[in-house]
Symmetry: C2
Subunit: 152 residues, 2 copies
Amino acid sequence: MTKSSPLALSNQLCFAFYSVSHAFSRAYRPFLDPLGLTYPQYVVLLVLWEQDGLTVREIGDRLFLDSGTLTPLLKRLEAAGHIRRARDKKDERQVRISLTEMGRTLRENAEEIPRQVGCMLGLPVDELRALTEQVAKLRGRLHDSASLLAKS
Amino acid sequence: MTKSSPLALSNQLCFAFYSVSHAFSRAYRPFLDPLGLTYPQYVVLLVLWEQDGLTVREIGDRLFLDSGTLTPLLKRLEAAGHIRRARDKKDERQVRISLTEMGRTLRENAEEIPRQVGCMLGLPVDELRALTEQVAKLRGRLHDSASLLAKS
DNA sequence: TCGATATAGATTGTACGCAATTGAATTGTA
DNA sequence: TACAATTCAATTGCGTACAATCTATATCGA
């Protein structure tokens, strides 16, 4: 995947995302390891720290993940003592995820992580912000195209 | 991960990459499925189509993957008939990967994929190019910071 | 030359990611 | 009310990622 290769642009872009996403995951690891968390587990907790008591589906909608990924991940978070899983009384199909006291406490220990990772980036804040928006927009387009493709 | 949440920027950026990378993988799937390939397998073939006869390590260096990931992936590509794996005569530690006739032929069937995915993006070419470079630069910084961290 | 060191790839174990299927609960509708 | 369609989470199976470890080969230094 050298710079000189005449590969089509979308391949280059896709690979850039593919590899930078793994690089980010590795960058977070030294900070998450001491907390006993993986990156996907951390992202789920970020969601719950924002809004507790969501259903599995609501978490999945926010993170673009399905129950096949979330169910075992949530079971691991539960086994670690960070969350509780309980069927919704009103609708027994749904499983509501709520933080334990331990899970809430963990938030404080994780507070410094984004700043420390931010230091590794060495880019001005407004550039980071612009990049984030651009990438999110691109993701939106891909989702839209995919759902169009699925309909036909 | 709502827009209104006050999450730190690096978390936002990391999640943007994390989710767009999966979105890309899903976007490629309809085109790769008929060829019997996964996205990582496709990327390995892209490398080999550029330069045949690389060692496992050389492929890993280009893709930022290690033998733990590549060995089973390459075995599947071999089982599918696309590549051959053979110990290097000069240095028996190394395994050289070469395309079979079938693997070379596959290239033509895959030629249209990046153009089709490109259509789903709906962004001007120079914007895509700029984005690709920016993301690659960011990945470089992360790798550098990570190796600095590993040394200390 | 021989032993220590380094390197390449394979293996093991854990954790995603996701398609496909299943089973239970709910909803829509006749 | 009955019952088909829908929804939600769980499960199964496969393919990555990656740390840690192992084995075989190669290289370096005394």
